[in-house]
């Protein structure tokens, strides 16, 4: 059985460094609080499950600026939400590629919601609260 926590760490580092020009600098102790933007993708195929990311809207806006290569004040809310969905999608693909390189998966279009605190990931069996330079990023994963 693969060490899913290590695979998720590896996938997060790859995605954040290569596509968001950010990086993981540690883990946040305890659960995040406050209003957050959340993106969830479901996957099916060789394995089934869900991956959710959530961050404060301000953190997601900085990540979106890095992703799109523009200044934060040039980004519309709709773009921030779209980038949150891309983050969930790409992170899920990277994780699944490490988990089962020979697998066959379909990843659903992202579902974007506004949530409070860690509510969106608290129930998920695997949770990570990554500390980034831009703020914190919560990632929750369920693999059935």
């Amino acid at each position: 059985m693969a060490d899913m926590t290590a695979l998720l760490d590896q996938a997060a580092e790859e995605v954040l460094e290569n596509m968001f020009f950010s990086g993981v600098i540690g883990e946040v102790p305890g659960e995040p609080a406050g209003e957050r933007l959340c993106a969830t993708v479901a996957f099916a195929g060789s394995s089934e499950g869900e991956l959710t990311v959530s961050a404060a809207a301000s953190t997601m806006a900085v990540l979106a600026a890095g992703f799109l290569g523009v200044e934060e004040n040039e980004i519309a809310d709709t773009q921030v939400r779209s980038v949150a969905g891309e983050l969930a999608n790409v992170l899920c693909g990277a994780f699944l590629g490490h988990l089962e390189p020979l697998g066959n998966f379909r990843i659903s279009p992202p579902r974007i919601t506004d949530v409070q605190g860690a509510g969106a990931v608290r129930h998920m069996p695997l949770r990570k609260y990554f500390e980034l330079m831009e703020g914190d990023l919560a990632v929750g994963l369920t693999v059935n």
Partner: protein
């Protein structure tokens, strides 16, 4: 200098791919965009390009169908297609390469990796 069609249902991802091409130093003359395979075919039939960069999962017509349509069209079948996807599984990559994709890149990827693929395909298409 190459003209490139970027096909992805996410406008954010189209912007990022364009940005990565510029960051890579690849010489791009023009860049046109399409939101799915159907739009991409319409663009290709009215405005030939040197290369197509396409996502897989898109509404209406996905990247795999677009690849088949390009291969079946005698006016388009020489156009190199680079698939860019978050699907990192080898089985998917193998199938699309067998169907005629010139390259399969998994997101996230380094700008240099994209540049190398684009240059190889340009050389192949014009060599």
């Amino acid at each position: 200098m190459a003209s490139i069609l970027i096909v992805d249902d996410s406008s954010a991802m189209r912007s990022v791919i364009k940005r990565i091409i510029k960051l890579s130093g690849f010489e791009m003359e023009t860049c046109v965009e399409a939101g799915d395979g159907e739009d991409a075919l319409a663009v290709l039939r009215s405005q030939p390009v040197d290369m197509v960069i396409s996502d897989i999962n898109m509404p209406r017509m996905d990247g795999e169908t677009l690849l088949r349509e390009i291969a079946a069209d005698q006016n388009l079948c020489g156009t190199p297609v680079v698939i860019v996807s978050s699907d990192a599984t080898e089985s998917r990559a193998s199938r699309l390469l067998e169907l005629g994709a010139g390259a399969y890149l998994v997101k996230p990827f380094q700008p240099q990796a994209l540049r190398e693929k684009l240059e190889q395909l340009m050389e192949g298409a014009h060599g």
